[in-house]
Symmetry: C2
């Protein structure tokens, strides 16, 4: 961020009065521009005990497998975002279950949220951002070829929750590569 | 948003190629500026069966009672944000329990997340954004003087979860005043 969204002049980083951390502040109009983590929302779609994964057609991690998920938009609920992403990436209509997985992805400035979900019929396909979509039994999950750490965490938690019947959120964090 | 953060020229709203919704796009350098919902994170701090609430010293809703909560910052986890906000607003150190309440606040472009929390000792106070802080038994909760709908929802859910022992997330939404 180099310019102020209010007036277009250049910005700098200072700690505003009454604040305790560096913010992007306009050198001309003094507007403070806050930057906050973004929500990524997705589903773990299940049909007859098998889990639907999508192989990514776009960067980052093109060619790797992912749960259908993406950035939450203004104007929608978490559930609406989860259904929309599953529709866009996997061309699948699901029924939502528990919001069971919440993963801090601090390095990316993101929080990833996953819902359990059920496919009533095995109808799915590849959306614009997807190369192919297929169902995997728990034993077939391509752990080494998953796109993101949050996919692995959500899938591990889904298997554990399915076993225990307890879908309470177990907070988890993706590995951090930058010093915290 | 009136100016591009990359070059400072004016922006307009168009649907970019390959997208399906209006975005803020620069008229000069064509940079696309995404706007996404923000996370507000807080706690329901409990000491000996009573719940700690803060009376707000700042707008919006100055003078009304709130759970300690605020905007999540870049560089922190949800749990870190919850602990920080409880420290800043209620001058209280808590132990975190379940992430049990997630509230869509669509009109504000926010998602509110609350953790159960425990005070080991009844030590708390009023931070800079707080007029006073006190413990309320469930029967004393000032329902009519709560600052935000998400406070009411989180408190109702907390009472229900405490009774049932089931802390699974029950998605809820704050009432919407603008047409969806």
């Amino acid at each position: 961020m180099r310019h102020c969204t209010a007036c277009g002049n250049t910005v700098t980083k200072v700690i505003p009065a009454g604040d305790n951390r560096l913010r992007v502040v306009c050198t001309a109009c003094a507007a403070v521009h806050y930057e906050n983590p973004k929500l990524v929302v997705g589903t773990v779609p299940v049909f007859a005990g098998r889990i639907l994964l999508c192989r990514r057609a776009i960067e980052p991690r093109r060619g790797f497998w992912t749960l259908p998920a993406g950035f939450m938009e203004l104007g929608e609920t978490l559930a609406e975002a989860a259904l929309r992403e599953t529709r866009e990436e996997a061309l699948a209509e699901v029924g939502l279950g528990a919001l069971f997985s919440v993963v801090d992805v601090v390095d990316a400035g993101q929080v990833h949220v996953f819902f359990a979900a059920t496919l009533a019929v095995p109808e799915f396909g590849a959306g614009e951002e997807t190369l192919e979509t297929r169902l995997f039994s728990p034993a077939e999950i391509p752990w080494a070829d998953l796109a993101f750490a949050s996919n692995r965490i959500a899938l591990e938690q889904h298997l554990a929750c399915s076993q225990s019947g307890n879908w309470q959120v177990q907070l988890a964090a993706a590995p951090r590569t930058r010093p915290g």
